[in-house]
Symmetry: C2
Subunit: 310 residues, 2 copies
Amino acid sequence: MSKTVRAHGPATVANIGCGFDILGAALNCPGDVVTAREVDSPTVLIRKIEGDGGKLPLDPKLNSASVAVSAMLDALDRPCGIELEIKKQMPLGSGLGSSAASSVAALWAVNTLLDNPFSALELVPFAMQGEKAACGTAHADNVAPGLMGGFVLIRSSEPPDIITLSYPESLTFTVVHPHFELKTSDARRVLFEKIPLKYAIKQWGNAAALVAGLIKEDTDLISRSLEDFIIEPQRSTLIPGYNAVKEAALKAGALGCSISGAGPSVFALCESEGVATLAGEKMSAAFKAAGLSSDIYVSSVNAEGPLILD
Amino acid sequence: MSKTVRAHGPATVANIGCGFDILGAALNCPGDVVTAREVDSPTVLIRKIEGDGGKLPLDPKLNSASVAVSAMLDALDRPCGIELEIKKQMPLGSGLGSSAASSVAALWAVNTLLDNPFSALELVPFAMQGEKAACGTAHADNVAPGLMGGFVLIRSSEPPDIITLSYPESLTFTVVHPHFELKTSDARRVLFEKIPLKYAIKQWGNAAALVAGLIKEDTDLISRSLEDFIIEPQRSTLIPGYNAVKEAALKAGALGCSISGAGPSVFALCESEGVATLAGEKMSAAFKAAGLSSDIYVSSVNAEGPLILD
């Protein structure tokens, strides 16, 4: 009988306020589950996708999970056939790193199947190929935290330079996903190609200070640093009720609140599960007042990254 | 007899590659010495300035040291007269934080004279007033490291939010000061008001990574992070021989090399005094090949900030 491994790949919050394209964190929930099976024919196939409402491509050249696994097998230079089954357990196009969760789970399952030829860090470039297939850009700010766990700094994407950061253990995310579609391409299109130097300086001051706050476990500094001077002012206009949602989060005691990835989900970073739960309820109520139903995810930071389930 | 206190204020390297306007570090040498004396008349006066070639203002409303001390005394709300003597021991307008070295020494001397009503951190806003008098902008990236010692992150200038950073003890700076005048106003004028988002992202990735590298004592990461995508390409054109000087520093083994403050001095950050000494010689030789004589300062990082000399 052919070997089978099942792995969980975590949802991730990319950008984290001031850290556009350079910061991300992994969540304990939600996440996707991928089952990988070794098969005779030396190709990568997707046998089944559940929970996507038929929206994701079964074509292995287009799906982030199969593209990532193909890139990995190419690097290994040994003929090997893999069949994948993807169980989506999180919303698509939500800003929670859905394509990354699938590719991370798939890579982790196949890596385990093949007796771990790669470290988590070494898998990042393969997962980035999956991101390129899914959304056109080989960005690392979802796949790197997804694979490494915790908070991750992406100093550079080409070539990838990934730095894991320590952080206060009690930090808890609330992510509220409002039920409307915001295409990543639209979220990218609103961004100006040039930005004022004086706001860029504030942004790199905050990005550097957020990293210092995380490593020094200084929650006051984390809170002061989360403000995004560049991206949020442009993208938040695409999310109905955004200002009220953010105000609700901060009023509930969140350290900071901003757009998760390219949105439309909004995250609040909190000092405890209690604050995160309250913030989530208030944020969801603010979305409701703007005419949008939403899902709430409350999660501590996932320190491990992907997980083998069997 | 009236009380007298003499203090040393350190030279500082501001910006440090990718950290334009947000990072600075204090040096053990060079630096200025200021003597403060309590006098009866409730005003702040400058009795003498040595070593400036007559270039600095004796008018207490215009000199960084007296302006800083006046701001401090105003905040204390008790009538007090101070007479200052300034001994410049470093070049003016060199990019080594000359105005800050004087104001930091003056504040530290007067603070000691008055039995330390303020902490070093609390003195920063007064020193920033001195910077405003000296160069038009109340920036903190020289005065904050000057007062606090070590590497300092300025998350925000208005209001000041100053974070001290730990760092590898062996780090050593070489600063090479070429003998020509580069006005800070000219160095500011070449900067574009708007910058490309894609380079800004690289810059905040590097600024965040440099802070992580310092705190984690990861010299490889420090080296990878020092690159400045925004300011150096614009300002380096104002410094004859710059590219050759930088190449010489890196070839000598420096972790990184960039413009100190607004220039024209160029710093190299090195892993040891040996490398720093060699880098300084090679950099100075490269300036010479470009037709400029220069001074070399090799210094470990000044962990203490200002120093009482008596």
